[in-house]
Amino acid sequence: MRLRAATSLGRLAGGLSRTLGRGDGFVIGGRVVLATCPDAFRQLVAGRRVAFVSATNGKTTTTRLLAAAMGAAGPVVTNTSGANMPAGLVAALARPQPGIPPSAPAVLEADETYLPGLLPATSAPLLVLGNLSRDQLDRVGEVAMVARRWRSIFAATPGVSAVANADDPHVAWAAGVIPNVTWVSVGNTWTADSVLCPSCGAILRRDDRDWSCACGFRRPEVAWRLDDGDVVTPDGERHPLQLHLPGTANQANAVMAVVAADALGVPPSVSVPAMSSVVSVGGRYQTVNLGGRRVRLLLGKNPAGWAEMFGMLAPAPAPVVIAINARAADGKDPSWLWDVPFEKLADRFVVATGERRHDLAVRLTYADVPHVTVEDPWTTESAMPAEVGSPGAHPLDAVGTYTAFRELLRRGGGANDG
């Protein structure tokens, strides 16, 4: 009864927040539910098969793809807006969903720091673990600390099983305590955060995706893998991915989703075609109208994400707008900009915007990238520097940190499609 009263109050708060224009009302509703009924999460997932998707990069996309795959086989509940902290999960589970039975499986994106707190409230969850890299160091902490927290809670969670990226040594080490793991090889373009063996602290030996340590800790035997755009099953069967999302990082996300779906009873013959329906995730890759031109929105929130970004941008000399904020959800320290090889943009013009545009401008100065800072280039067509050129046949690429990206999405009237 307490849960029902709490969810009604939560809906009221969410509606009020929307009416007052203070946000989409989603997370505030969840906060109200949790304040009224602290046990809400446990009660809302009771009787459901739960899959938690967690990682530093790709968790929103993997969640979206896994939900699409599962949705092809039957009803599913999911937190499709990237609201991945407890209040967001509670809000997703508590909203009225006509026609979806209370036993429908839940595919939930979980923030990597909150995942340990959520596990004890679930029964035999499936974990889908992608990668760990430096991000929001002021809030999340260093990568090795996150891996240690994961490992100790995984060891203490009975019945847990996992689909995990064997190519990431921190993920392999954390998930190594789980008896039932399906290991997947999807690659790991950013290796700067896994130089040392998570088990003994010595320097790891690496060979492409493979890695090992003198102490005996090594990459686990892989069952599934991503190979040249195909999912390869343990039997060697190949399923070409049919994605409408760009880049190899999204192929990696898709393979994690295919293997997780298989673990939940949905085979690749069903999941692979189902994932082709996803064309945009939380507004990423969407083209919106901003400042009198068409703008393609991209999320670039940390060095690992940026490692994939250069290949997704329209080819040089196409200009690019980069919006940098450093609010709580972005991480308050934007010094990670110096870990991104912005020298690669030397043959383009960059418009630096966002609250921390000056940090970016200094980085671009020392990288010899032509640029200008503009507080708000989207007010009118003339607010955009002349170097960008007039609106043409191709959309202008705009890359933002999490809150800067969300702001562009909101102003452009884009859909937060999950």
Partner: protein, 239 residues
């Protein structure tokens, strides 16, 4: 590379580079080249021998295990200590600052001996210091501008008699001992300023370069750097 090139060595950036400190090498290289000096920047992989004949050495911030791995490798290697004996300039940030000292808390808080090149001792702070750091330099006339950066560490660093403070803390924690930030001893300078520190404090970058070159450098004003400093200085309230 010509004989005359100055050699700037970034020590194990894969271990000591978690907080964008790799940018310090880039800033020093670009600022020296802008004044007409030929620079050979060198980034050492972990375990690669440290050349003892370079002009400037950089050590950045890193995670606890990486810091311990770095200090043990450096002690065995001995190249950095030989370079210091020969008068090289050393710039250490955060973990790289702590490991230049006598000891620091390493993995799981176990005290780890440092390289003893800097007369400082680091112990665990009761609460991790995370946020903007603003400090007023006290090392003399060569630094006149406030130092600005971002700190993220759990170390409290006490200066011994041979080391002097770099600056007095106006906002944030810094060394966490006696209200000061950083340490200077001869041509070795340690600090908790990330940002990276030399991107946000060009005067500090030029001070290190003047130690290498042996004379002050002509001014190099970069509008974006000044705009960043103005914005960052207005974002903190000094005490």
């Amino acid at each position: 590379m010509a004989e005359s090139a100055l050699r700037f060595v970034s020590i194990y950036p894969m271990l000591l580079g978690t907080y964008g400190d790799g940018g310090n090498l880039r800033v020093l290289t670009m600022r020296a080249r802008a004044r007409g000096y030929e620079i050979e920047p060198i980034e050492l992989d972990a375990g690669e021998p440290v050349p003892s004949v370079a002009d400037l050495y950089l050590l950045g911030g890193g995670e606890d295990d990486a810091q311990v791995a770095a200090v043990r490798t450096l002690r065995t290697d001995g190249g950095l200590a030989r370079a210091v004996d020969a008068g090289a300039v050393v710039f250490g940030v955060c973990a790289g600052y702590q490991l230049l000292g006598k000891e620091f808390p390493g993995s799981n808080g176990v005290l780890e001996p440092g390289l003893e090149l800097l007369d400082v001792t680091t112990s665990r702070l009761p609460k991790r210091a995370v946020g903007e750091l603003l400090a007023e330099p006290v090392v003399g006339e060569s630094l006149t501008q406030p130092l600005t950066g971002y700190e993220n560490h759990a170390g409290g660093t006490r200066l011994g008699t041979d080391a002097r403070a770099l600056a007095r803390v106006r906002a944030g924690v810094g060394n966490g001992v006696d209200g000061v930030e950083g340490a200077v001893q001869g041509r070795i300078l340690g600090t908790y300023l990330h940002g990276p520190g030399l991107a946000r404090n060009p005067e500090l970058a030029d001070l290190l370069l003047s130690w290498v070159i042996g004379s002050p450098l002509p001014p190099l004003d970069l509008a974006d750097v000044e705009a960043l400093r103005t914005e960052r200085l207005s974002a903190v309230t000094p005490r």
